[in-house]
Subunit: 250 residues, 2 copies
Amino acid sequence: MERIVDPIRSGDLHQAIQDRIKRVIIDHGYQPGDALPAETELARILGISRGSLREAMKSLQTLGVVETRHGFGTFVGQFSFEPMINGLTFQILVSRETMPRAIRELLDLRQVLETALMPRVTEAATAPQLEQLELLVARMEASAARGRQFVDEDREFHEVLYRPLGNDLIIQLLRAFWDIFSAVGQESSRRTILLGETAGQHRDILNSIVAHQGQAAAAAMSVHFAGALAWVPLLEHDQSETMASGSRRR
Amino acid sequence: MERIVDPIRSGDLHQAIQDRIKRVIIDHGYQPGDALPAETELARILGISRGSLREAMKSLQTLGVVETRHGFGTFVGQFSFEPMINGLTFQILVSRETMPRAIRELLDLRQVLETALMPRVTEAATAPQLEQLELLVARMEASAARGRQFVDEDREFHEVLYRPLGNDLIIQLLRAFWDIFSAVGQESSRRTILLGETAGQHRDILNSIVAHQGQAAAAAMSVHFAGALAWVPLLEHDQSETMASGSRRR
DNA sequence: ATTGATTTGTCCGTATGTATC
DNA sequence: AGATACATACGGACAAATCAA
């Protein structure tokens, strides 16, 4: 028999319910992936209606604290930047006024971070990783020769780069930034990108890593982002319609 | 007379509702502070019940997309990292198994980013900023001499550093990381911190900036984080109880 | 493969507290 | 102070999805 918690009577019930749910998770020692009590029982335990409980659950769900599966149950969530991606993407899209500025800041941050990581990447590089990067760059060059985009290869290149660093947080964060950039830039004019030049920049980065020259790799990465940053001002006079939804579940 | 949107019949209604609300905000050009239609009318427009609408609203409210004022109305809100900080902090705290790893990766990321920013900081430094930093370091040294913590000064030091860069995203992100680190470390043993050494590291950073030596400032910042990273392993054998709620509204 | 039990998803109706005018 | 509009919360009911026997 579960203990029934004192009813909540103060003002901010919604936040209080969220805290109590979190308290239940911690006190019971639930780990990510573990199932929570059913909604009806949890509502009974907390002494609130099921509707109020569900509203609090939806908030926790958007934060990634819990995950719900229709007809199955509610579970403790895994760490993820996904809620941040959706929120940040929307923030950028809401005000077209400040959108170019936000994109510029985003690219600026990526430039600082990825450039700074290149010496480490050069040190930690592995043989299979370099083969994979070589394949991706070759595909980029082939696409560029045919005048086609290579967004997926670009994304994968930057992700494969940082895998051997042993820092999942960095990988997740950079992936989140990429998703934001992708979602915002999706509806914008992409034809202004110089395909051959972009492919060549990735080639330069890879060559420097293979040659085990961290400083040169950092310089090449910096050049790569400088090119992207130069493209941003073209956004300012763009009237394209944009998606209301952020990036979807993967 | 508002147009009634086609009812949603597919699977993930919850996410679809959020997207439609966001779509309404973007399409109507609502800006932060503007009032949204009342719940009953919005539910009618979207062709859903008030209960489902409220659940979606609570999610958007959590992300800061909308703000509700009891008895008055619902308004477009200012986006903030804060709710996500609470969510991410909770998720780090919840799994004690992987917590030290998450903290280590977080500090590692901060070390890379903040070290890489130091040359820029040195370039962009302003006179009033340096005065502020000088005051903060002096307060740190005074506290250290008396054996007291200086968490607030530490936080403010790192925040003031990056203000002249003109990149709000970097400031918001670093503040979010600091909050997570602070919330996690709050319940842990803090007595192992070497106060005088930490204060001295901040002094070294400031001196290098004043001397306009970006490389030296970067080195000093790197040393600062190396000290913090060395402290992480002590977390692994810590059995302290943790709070269910993250940091509160400021 | 069908049935049955469990759980989340959605809806309706109603009552209450709250802020604005 | 009264009236009105609004968000908040509750309870019950049915639908849809999932899993296990």
